[in-house]
Symmetry: C2
Subunit: 404 residues, 2 copies
Amino acid sequence: MDCEMVEGGKSVKVKGFRFSAVEAAVKKPGRLDLALILSEVPAAVAAVFTTNRVKAAPVLLSMQHAAGGVARALVVNSGNANACTGAQGMADAAETARLVAEGCGIPEGMVLVASTGVIGKQLPMERIRAAIPPLVNAAASRSMEEVARAIMTTDTFPKLETRQGEAGGKSYSIAGVAKGSGMIMPNMATMLSFLVTDAAVDPAFLDKAFRRAVDSSFNIITVDGDTSTNDMASIMASGMAGNAPIREGSPEAADFESLLSGILLSLAKQIVLDGEGATKLVGIHVRGAVNEADAKRAAMAVANSSLVKTAFFGQDANWGRILAAVGYSGAEIDQDRACLSFDDVLMVRDGIFVGGDAEARGTEILKKREFSVTIDLQLGSGNAVVFTSDLSHDYVTINADYRT
Amino acid sequence: MDCEMVEGGKSVKVKGFRFSAVEAAVKKPGRLDLALILSEVPAAVAAVFTTNRVKAAPVLLSMQHAAGGVARALVVNSGNANACTGAQGMADAAETARLVAEGCGIPEGMVLVASTGVIGKQLPMERIRAAIPPLVNAAASRSMEEVARAIMTTDTFPKLETRQGEAGGKSYSIAGVAKGSGMIMPNMATMLSFLVTDAAVDPAFLDKAFRRAVDSSFNIITVDGDTSTNDMASIMASGMAGNAPIREGSPEAADFESLLSGILLSLAKQIVLDGEGATKLVGIHVRGAVNEADAKRAAMAVANSSLVKTAFFGQDANWGRILAAVGYSGAEIDQDRACLSFDDVLMVRDGIFVGGDAEARGTEILKKREFSVTIDLQLGSGNAVVFTSDLSHDYVTINADYRT
């Protein structure tokens, strides 16, 4: 049974993968909270994990299991992060992998485990133990869209994206799901994202391409500046499209990486747009920094500034807060040279407000659901972009009451 | 005419200083927005300024004027930051200093200028020009408490503090005012603070002592992680108490520095408690870090985490978010050794929840207006404390609508 997804009304198949999702009652009743992605064959796997030094048990386990470069399955629960749970948490993550491996008749070391939800509570293992047989038995009965639903926490919509490509005359597909939507900050976030492809891909290239694509997607978004204990993104490549393995440096590799980047950037933007309480998706573009690192530093400071984000929510063209954030970012800035625009409306030229009707025109831009801020430092050739949301009342409401 | 302040019902005089405040209509009518502190004699001055690379015109001017180590006056407006205002802004700051100098008959280079308010708008100089003669004429007619009122922006109460000491048999006083209350982050914040003392203090010691006191007060608070373009703190010492100048290394120096630190820490805590929308003052104590820098890094990450701060607002004992913030702070942490307490209620021992009634008891602590969080990393002897506020609906309301 292949994966079927709808992309612009078009069904997309990813050969060799089966999907399952059940209600294990980790979350409130009536919601899918345990999902399985099963590869019919040993799949090449690449994965990246949170940079937080406090890592959840499933992250520590999956880091080991992904290191071999081959995986057969990924099991994920929402509603409980299994983080800060000590030895018991590690035992629970390992038991989850073992039960799935036994049920599917595959090696335990080829099962990745992921979790998302509240930190600090032990997993309700009796319920997860009971849910794994139906989860395994239902493999192939669910779609990847249901996996996207099962991993939601405060997300308001499931996030999925697909692309199709061709390598050596063989068509292949890539499909991915993701969840946000708080504790979103690069390197990585409370962000889970799982991709599958039926392309045959050289494992070394898959790893490199996946890391590069994550760097230019999930690692350039921020919702609240918090980096989670549980982040994980992975891709499994079944090879069942029948192409010769795609290797670094080939035209097929460039195509594959471009498609992969497109999926991840789309998922990343979906995460920001569905950020907790978010009403806007704002691209922060920094140009003309002394170098790329400075540009990223400046863009990230703007993207994480509570004052900037509340101004976005208030649709206030308060460009002064934006330049102030660049100023404390650590990036080089000559305050008499910086220019700033909202979309194509120039607000600041050489450090000062341009006057005229710019205030009114800038305010109109900020009323849009999506817009860009461009800061040109006029110092060098360093460019960067970061995507962020606004900071709204609902963010406070959601996070003040998250555990209740 | 000396400064008179009430401290616990006790009037405090600081000899040699006069105060004035008027309505210059920079802010809405009916609010003091232009203030003057005038020293009757050349006063030793020490000052610290924002580390933001985008610096307001008055900051750039006062950096020059304070460099001489002697000042006679400080003029400050609220309602307009005179930041990101280019050459015109510099000219306006200089003209303000010149007009005050002429009015008071003192050298222009001995006038410090400070501003706070909206970034990016030119000062309404015609109104400031008109207001300076009455400001100068009224010198001595106002109290330091009225200076505290005149520098308020979104502050809800004036912040002032006094101490009295003795040096060489002579009594002296120190008095200070401050304003917050958004863009509050160490090194420095949108924070203005002006102190006066009638003690005679060796300028070199005054500078060192003031910087150390700022480091352990204004530089360990955060409201929203944003560092402003306009921060400035200064102290003027008139010497009119008649003591022999206090020099580094003497018992009098230790006393003076202790009193100075006490005033600044009190003002710093007042700023946090009056942080935009704040309902709580929380001390984040990190102990047992591998070194002091790591401890500060960890404490600051916790203090700036939107997720932690919204949990404080929600009175949710969500310790997992706190350990997650330590984890991404860059500080060394062994997640199986960290301990965490709310006041004296131990929540986490060696990385895991202690269970029992800790949840209920921790929640009771979070209902308090002031409490502490202590994280013991059990790795070394590095300690640090940072004071922060919670993140509430009112923060969003205030900052979404700030300029309207």
